[in-house]
């Protein structure tokens, strides 16, 4: 194993990361944000990294209602 790395993201970088992961898997980023906010983590395994990044944001972040 290589040494571990820790990445620290700004809010905008987190949002961009979720968008990237959503589009990479063929999903609408807005749908992924809405699903996360609704507790409906569909495509769970495939999209868990995106949901994990959503969980880093405050629950009232505007991206969840855009």
């Amino acid at each position: 194993m290589q040494p571990t790395k820790t990445y620290v993201y700004t809010r905008d970088e987190v949002v961009e990361f979720v968008r990237f992961k959503s589009l990479e898997k063929g999903y609408d980023p807005a749908e992924i944000f809405r699903n996360f906010a609704a507790g409906d983590w569909r495509h769970f395994s495939q999209m868990l990294e995106a949901y994990a990044f959503c969980a880093m944001l405050p629950k009232d972040d505007p991206v969840f209602t855009e």
Binding site: M1, Q2, P3, T4, K5, T6, Y7, V8, Y9, T10, R11, V14, F17, F20, G39, D40, W41, R42, F44, S45, Q46, L48, E49, Y51, A52, F53, A55, M56, L57
Partner: protein
């Protein structure tokens, strides 16, 4: 002393113990200890020497963390294994403020797959502390990609890979044992070394899941 002798692994085993204690102690250092624990666990067992994991968090908050296979944030989250295949790993960790800032899994998935992308998977374990879909599968469950000898036991057009086999706490130690003992993935440390380490720490890892 040969490279594979148990004594060569004593410092790794000691570091694993320290990291294990640290992840269970809670507080802001716990995620870092957990990341180190996972690194050392896989180093002892089934990880290729070039494999990696990473930890991610928001700058403004230190209560939610993502642990993912690989160093490349735009990669698929896979850890390269000693057999040339991959284990895709994503874990959502949170410091539970209602429980003294203890580290908890909110969600996790690990998947054994033939290629670095996830089109050719073999088995997968999923865990979510919360409900993850309207259909509400068990919090912890295992999927297997295969074909039944008696496919008529499933509903029409339901592949085996969509069946949720309940498994309460899919620990990473369980993943390692499954890979090494059942799928023959070579381990880096001798059997008696990594087996003793897994036995020492797996029960403790259960504390990171739901009560």
């Amino acid at each position: 002393m040969t490279p594979s002798s148990p004594s060569n692994w004593s410092s790794t085993v000691a570091s694993l113990r320290t990291a294990s204690d640290g992840r269970l102690a809670g507080g802001r250092e716990a995620p870092g200890h957990f990341e180190r624990y996972v690194n050392l666990l896989f180093r002892l067992t089934v990880a290729h020497k070039d494999s990696a994991i990473r930890l991610s968090r928001l700058a403004a908050s230190s209560t939610v963390w993502a642990l993912t296979g690989g160093h490349d944030p735009r990669g698929g989250g896979a850890i390269r294994l000693t057999d040339g295949r991959y284990l895709r790993l994503v874990a959502l960790l949170e410091l539970d403020v209602s429980a003294g800032r203890q580290l908890r899994f909110q969600a996790m998935t690990w998947q054994y797959q033939n290629a670095i992308d996830d089109d050719s998977w073999v088995f997968r374990a999923d865990y979510s502390r919360a409900q993850i879909a309207a259909a509400s599968p068990p919090r912890g469950h295992l999927h297997i990609d295969g074909t039944l000898r008696h496919p008529d036991v499933l509903r029409p057009k339901q592949p085996l890979g969509r069946v949720h086999f309940p498994c309460r706490r899919p620990t990473l130690e369980a993943a390692v044992v499954l890979l090494a003992d059942e799928f023959g993935v070579p381990t880096n440390a001798p059997h008696e070394v990594w087996r003793a380490a897994v036995a020492e720490h797996e029960a403790k890892s259960a504390r990171l899941f739901d009560a």
